[in-house]
């Protein structure tokens, strides 16, 4: 109603001015009395009001639509309109919407193709890695150890690519089941044993017995691998330990804590470690920080419905807790 009145204000003003002028002209001409001009004024005002009322009712839905902000995309451009102006606007909106949607569709399609391509590419790259791994499996000595290390790095890099790409299509790609927390941790530490041994940093696993969690094994394994990689990367001294502790909170939620005895994170960096591409002070002084590790950890955990906490003290180490 407000919008309608505002819209029609100039018309009402013009009308009143016109009424005054015409009445004045006739009065100065001396042709008619007060009653007559009052009567004429009343009659024409009534006509105007009738006109405005008609306009208002025929365009009411149009005005209502203009005043309410859209909360979601609407294909049709709204309900059909009575007046020609409103109807053509509706058509314009609908057409514009269709064009946008076509554009959006083609981009979405491109993105899906891209993810598909990345998936295939990563798998294609993994085959030669596996073959190299098998070839050097039974060999010992510095060159083969070095090749093995680099292989592990390549594998990790590929996994990061794969999981980053898949994160967007997470909904199609996860399977939640009951898992034994201790088994998962043992499996992942065992998978990363080369890295542990190479760094001369060893895991200490302390699990309260019988903790089961509800999660996706593949994604959780990736998360733990990230945490282990971080813990080892930022532990410089040999002979340190990475502690894995699993326990139940008072509220009955299972917690897995991964605590290293590494360099720690400066307090200034701590709030931002879960941001994508954030590397911080440590990232700049160590190699191979992509800033993606903890970001992916956070994203994956939130999709799985787990919470992630981090606490750290420079020189003492960092602890990451996953609350299931």
């Amino acid at each position: 109603v407000k919008l309608f009145l505002r819209e029609q204000t100039p018309l009402i003003v013009i009308y009143l001015a016109q009424l005054m002028i015409i009445t004045l002209v006739y009065r100065l001409d001396g042709g008619s009395g007060v009653n007559v001009s009052l009567y004429a004024g009343l009659l024409s005002t009534f006509l105007l009001l009738a006109y405005l009322a008609y306009r208002y009712f025929s365009n009411r839905s149009f005005y209502e639509r203009l005043e309410s902000l859209p909360s979601s995309l609407d294909e049709s451009g709204g309900p059909a309109q009575g007046s020609p102006l409103a109807e053509s606007l509706r058509k314009l909106l609908a057409q514009q919407f269709r064009l946008y949607q076509n554009d959006l569709h083609s981009y979405r399609h491109k993105l899906e193709e891209h993810i598909h391509f990345i998936n295939q590419w990563v798998h294609a790259m993994k085959t030669p890695l596996s073959v190299i791994h098998l070839i050097i499996q039974d060999k010992d000595g510095p060159p083969f150890t070095a090749i093995g290390d680099e292989l592990d790095r390549l594998k990790k890099g590929l996994d990061t690519v794969l999981y980053t790409a898949r994160l967007d299509t997470f909904e199609h790609d996860f399977y939640v089941e009951q898992l034994e927390l201790a088994d998962i941790v043992r499996g992942v530490t065992s998978e990363q044993k080369r890295l542990f041994i190479r760094k001369r940093v060893f895991p200490a696993i302390a699990m309260d017995s019988g903790i089961t969690i509800t999660s996706d094994e593949k994604w959780l394994t990736f998360v733990l691998t990230q945490l282990i990689t971080n813990a080892l990367r930022y532990t410089i001294e040999e002979g340190r330990v990475v502690h894995f502790r699993g326990y139940l909170q008072e509220k009955g939620r299972a917690v897995l804590e991964v605590r290293d005895e590494g360099v720690g994170i400066p307090p200034g960096d701590l709030p931002r470690v879960f941001d994508a591409y954030f590397t911080g002070v440590n990232g700049r002084s160590f190699q191979e920080s992509t800033g993606m590790g903890l970001y992916l950890v956070k994203q994956i955990c939130s999709k799985l419905g787990h919470e992630v906490e981090i606490s750290s003290e420079v020189g003492k180490g960092t602890a990451v807790r996953i609350i299931f």
Binding site: K126, T127, S130, V131, L134, Q137, D138, D140, G141, T145, S190, K193, R194, I197, R198, R200, F202, P203, A204, I205, G239
Partner: protein
């Protein structure tokens, strides 16, 4: 991927040795990996799983250096907690069992690199 691995394993890996019942012999010293028994002549001694793994690796590469890293990798899965000391302890135990077979100094430490098994004990006389 798993399929390729299993094929390769069948061709080159541990299954291929399965024909001779997973036992290793070096200069009269025999390691039975299945039964966890080390024997030389009439002398026999039982081994733990971890000790057997260490000996298995050393005997396969008799005369060459096996790095500590590699041995650690081998024994990793049997242990709740592996570190450098774990390996030291097991190497000591293996040495004792070799001594029980009458083999002294067969398992040598190569400083900064690893261990080496030299078959300098000769055949049983």
């Amino acid at each position: 991927m798993a399929k390729i691995k299993s094929h390769l394993r069948r061709a080159y890996g541990s299954y291929a040795v399965g024909a001779n019942e997973r036992s290793l012999a070096v200069s009269g010293l025999t390691l039975d990996v299945e039964r966890l028994v080390l024997s030389r002549g009439n002398a026999k001694v039982d081994l733990s799983h971890t000790e057997a793994k260490i000996l298995d690796e050393l005997m396969k590469k008799t005369g060459t250096i096996v790095t500590r890293d590699r041995l650690l990798e081998k024994i990793w899965d049997d242990q709740a907690f592996v570190d450098d000391n774990t390996l030291n302890v097991y190497v000591t135990r293996v040495r004792k069992k070799l001594a029980a077979m009458g083999i002294q100094d067969g398992l040598q430490t190569v400083r900064g690199q690893g261990y080496r098994l030299s078959d300098n004990w000769g055949e049983m006389t």
